[in-house]
Symmetry: C2
Subunit: 204 residues, 2 copies
DNA sequence: CATAAAAACGGAATTGACTCAATTTTAGAA
DNA sequence: TTCTAAAATTGAGTCAATTCCGTTTTTATG
């Protein structure tokens, strides 16, 4: 099948992503020209389009790595949640939010979110939707865990609750990245306040 | 001040919006070329950019009309809500959702949402955020009304609850417009299911 | 080792949103 | 009515993403 070709392919993928990530970070997504990414990655413009369908997909590859890290970090909380419903939710959502600006700027998030709704059927659009679902599922898993421990009432609809919590956080995060001045601490406080209503309703 | 000039201005605005709305509906937002809109509206490309900062703002003007209609329709429900918390929420959100595809296709919604996160400081970006806030406020007003009537506990944080309900609905709506196959009835059912948790928590 | 098919590359050409300097139109003062 | 400054229009030009297709590289085969 393939030795050299596969190796070159992987290498070019890596070079393109690295060049793009650096440029996006330094100059912003909009200002980063494909031509510049190509030059930096030492491939041609045409080759980039051989690897990614469009500029958004390049950003998508970077965002996906980020969100997968977040999902990974969340596993620890689900396995070992704080012994209090409010804190458990706050800790998990806190991990999502705090990690979120580690590698990606607000502008990159805005672009990524925009592309995922603009082109929901592009490779990145589908990947982004899958990531959202994975995050929802992780919140649902936390709730199930809390139900098992006996901190959350058993008769609560865990699926619906997970969706509610994720959707609210996600929408708040969207508004957060839209304002360059918005601070993480305020975002978390606002979400805690909203979740307080839920916590009161579901605590055993 | 101005008779002729103001009249011509208003007329051109109208012609541009009408031409754009027709084109967006027929060929989709992406496929609609500014050149074509200009030709149809009998103005030049430059003039369009005199009236709107960018292509997205043209769509924005159309979306704003739609959302304002929805807000208007919602007033009736707030003034005279069904005598049951779950039904009251379902009725108001139902109006939002059912109206939403009256003038705008799913593709137009996707584009509008994408632009509003991509360019949050453009005229449309700001207008869209304001519309979201107005919808949140209307939901909050409904909750306050239900509290006044005695259907919702007085000690509930109405502001936070309104945000929670709006954010969840909005996120569900975003996912809804991302799937061309998604049906309104299913969307409403899913939201009702999610709100059931809240309703149980807040009913007096 | 030669060779033909397949895969990937390169970069010039295309496309469409947006800009800008020149021109035309309008308001209203003389 | 005539004239002038301000306001608005125009469309050719710019810019960057994306496409297209001829050329080069890799693989598989005899």
């Amino acid at each position: 099948m393939s030795g050299l070709r596969a190796r070159q392919k992987a290498d070019r993928h890596r070079r393109i992503i690295e060049a793009a990530a650096a440029l996006f970070r330094d100059t912003g997504y909009e200002a980063a020209k494909i031509e510049t990414i190509a030059a930096q990655a030492e491939v041609s413009v045409g080759t980039i389009y051989n690897y990614y369908q469009n500029k958004g997909d390049i950003l998508g590859a970077i965002v996906s790595m980020e969100v997968n890290e977040v999902l990974n970090a969340g596993r620890g909380v689900v396995a070992n949640p704080p012994a209090n419903v409010g804190d458990a939710l706050d800790t998990l959502l806190g991990i999502y939010i705090e990690h979120s600006l580690h590698y990606l700027s607000k502008e990159m998030w805005r672009q990524a979110m925009a592309i995922s709704t603009q082109l929901p059927d592009s490779p990145f659009g589908q990947a982004y939707t899958a990531l959202d679902r994975a995050l929802t599922e992780q919140i649902r898993a936390l709730i199930a865990r809390l139900q098992a421990i006996g901190l959350v009432r058993r008769d609560i609809d865990g699926q619906a609750l997970g969706e509610l919590v994720f959707n609210n956080m996600n929408m708040m995060f969207i508004e957060f990245v839209k304002r360059d001045g918005a601070r993480i601490a305020e975002l978390r406080a606002a979400i805690r306040r909203q979740n307080r209503i839920l916590v009161a309703a579901i605590a055993a």
